[in-house]
């Protein structure tokens, strides 16, 4: 065998082309190089089938061009969308994403962070439920939906505003007596503010409201009990519901229909997140839509930001309402009315 079975390296190219290894490096990185050299190197690279090996560079520069994304899973469509858009934002900037699934397991959340510490990534974007996770300070970290401390930038939708918007929307849709249902974890995170916003909105509208909060562990059956308890002579006590997430809203709607409460005729339902069927089709329920693309963009911008003095400790992004199959059409208002 005359050919070297090993993969060729820069040194091989340099030797074959009769130039210095530094010159090869410069050509590969697109730096200025004499025309003759440029040509010789390019040809030799082609001839030897040289493939650039990233690991040498990483070791040398201590830059992996990879960001770790820590998230419970991708089965939940909200997470899937987040992963999708964050990856897109990273790719635009020539970064790769390393996905770490925690399955809501605190041990795993911890392990993942240790992993990144071992220089497998340049930074972390995390959506975590660990209540007392102490984030590394020696590496850029951005948190989604969860505020840790002023030193860890947090990015979230305007959850308070979204809750408020839901209340006003229900009022506008003609509701008189509404309820809020959600699952709460022991952890206080940004989405917890949805309730506060909703209550605030209800008070502004002078609308009767009630809250039904269930802890993580409790069964969904409790929601059904609550609903049953509020049906008197076939009529549901509420004509509007604001549910903490679209996913829960979907389940609630199933329960309501099973109990012969019609949606949206008898009760209108608004969820939160803006999930669509298959990610790009109809909204599965009427919803307060999270600006996931913007959230992704801000997360990436922040985690890659060299100048960490300019990053905000909490960024909240505006949400909007989208009509789905669980609310009625709003009666057309007189266009002049809003101009008054």
């Amino acid at each position: 065998m005359s050919s070297n079975p090993q993969k060729p390296t820069m040194a091989d190219v340099a030797r074959e082309a009769g130039v210095a290894i530094g010159t090869v490096s410069r050509v590969v990185n697109g730096e200025a190089v004499g025309e003759v050299y440029q040509k010789k190197v390019t040809e030799t690279i082609e001839r030897l089938g040289y493939k650039y090996n990233n690991m040498g560079r990483v070791l040398r520069t201590n830059q992996t061009n990879t960001i770790a994304m820590i998230i419970p899973n991708t089965l939940n469509p909200y997470f899937a969308m987040l992963v999708h858009h964050i990856n897109a934002a990273l790719e635009k900037r020539n970064y790769k994403m390393m996905l770490c699934f925690t399955e809501y397991d605190r041990q795993r959340e911890w392990d993942m962070i240790q992993m990144v510490r071992q220089k497998r990534a340049d930074g972390i974007i995390a959506l975590t439920y660990h209540p007392d996770l102490n984030m590394p300070t020696d590496i850029p970290v951005v948190s989604i939906d969860r505020f840790f401390s002023v030193s860890i930038p947090c990015v979230a939708a305007d959850n308070f505003g979204g809750g408020r918007m839901a209340a006003h929307k229900l009022k506008e849709l003609g509701c008189q007596k509404v309820a809020h249902m959600r699952i709460i974890s022991t952890l206080i995170n940004e989405p917890s503010k949805r309730k506060d916003g909703f209550i605030s909105g209800c008070m502004e509208c002078d609308m009767d409201y009630e809250c039904m909060l269930l802890h993580d562990g409790e069964a969904y059956a409790k929601f059904e009990e609550f609903i049953r308890a509020n049906i008197h002579e076939g009529r549901f006590a509420f004509d509007g519901l604001f549910i903490g997430t679209d996913s829960l809203a979907w389940r609630i709607v199933q329960i309501l229909r099973k109990l012969h409460i019609r949606v949206p005729q008898d009760v209108q339902v608004i969820g939160f997140d803006g999930l669509r069927m298959f990610g790009d089709q109809e909204y599965i329920v009427s919803s307060i839509v999270q600006p996931i693309e913007d959230i992704a963009e801000v997360c990436v911008e922040t985690v890659l930001s060299k100048d960490r003095s300019v990053v905000h400790s909490l960024t909240t992004l505006p949400v909007h309402y989208a009509k789905g199959p669980t609310t009625r059409d709003i009666a057309k208002e007189d266009p002049h009315a809003s101009m008054a």
Copy 2:
């Protein structure tokens, strides 16, 4: 400042502990080491706050412990499930996953493969739609749903068997005249066999069938036209449909309902994939379920297999039927009948 601001390395630990660097390496990797040394090193690691850096190892061993997963996106729930289970299978074996989204773009599919060549990953698991992609042979590649050549192992569900199963199931459900609808790409891949299996099954059952195949580019409106053209005096010409994917099946059901054809009363619909609402709840339509977990397991097992002579060029995994909201209950048979 007396403390070194740099992150400590194995050399630092060795010096501080008064041992050789090789000893530190052995301790870190859990190899046998004299008890006294063990203790000295462990303490020093703790004291200096030494963190293992993976990149040195990668450069030295040429092993990244990372597998690249090439897939169109994660918005499609089928892909999201695949990503989920492949990641789980990799994690069990102490591997990381590097996600590469192609968005069905051939240029990107190519770029991703080049990327992996640069030693960012030890192997590739790919679900690609590029008709004439030539896969690298110097690195382990496993293809999902797409057979390239005998040298590239392919893993897929038993698509032919699934199509056949759908036909038999529709017959069993009382259908007389059925149709198959799907979107076909120019590419011949494993899922294309669903049609062949269905036709085969229909013939075995002696059941009338028709096929409606649409090319990628054509609008969904064509499906609606087809359906409209088959409604005579308010009655739909078919009482059973087998649709290429659950996602398309869902859309078809929407169209049918819009045209006042009741599902499953007037026509029963079976899709393919086994998608569930939010990944873990009800099936969105009755479906032939892909064994995604097994597919993931086989993919990972194959891509990591050292002995490449034992890998099969095509592995097909069994599917099963799951009842969703788009088929009727099968009339209970006399249990003795099947024993005859």
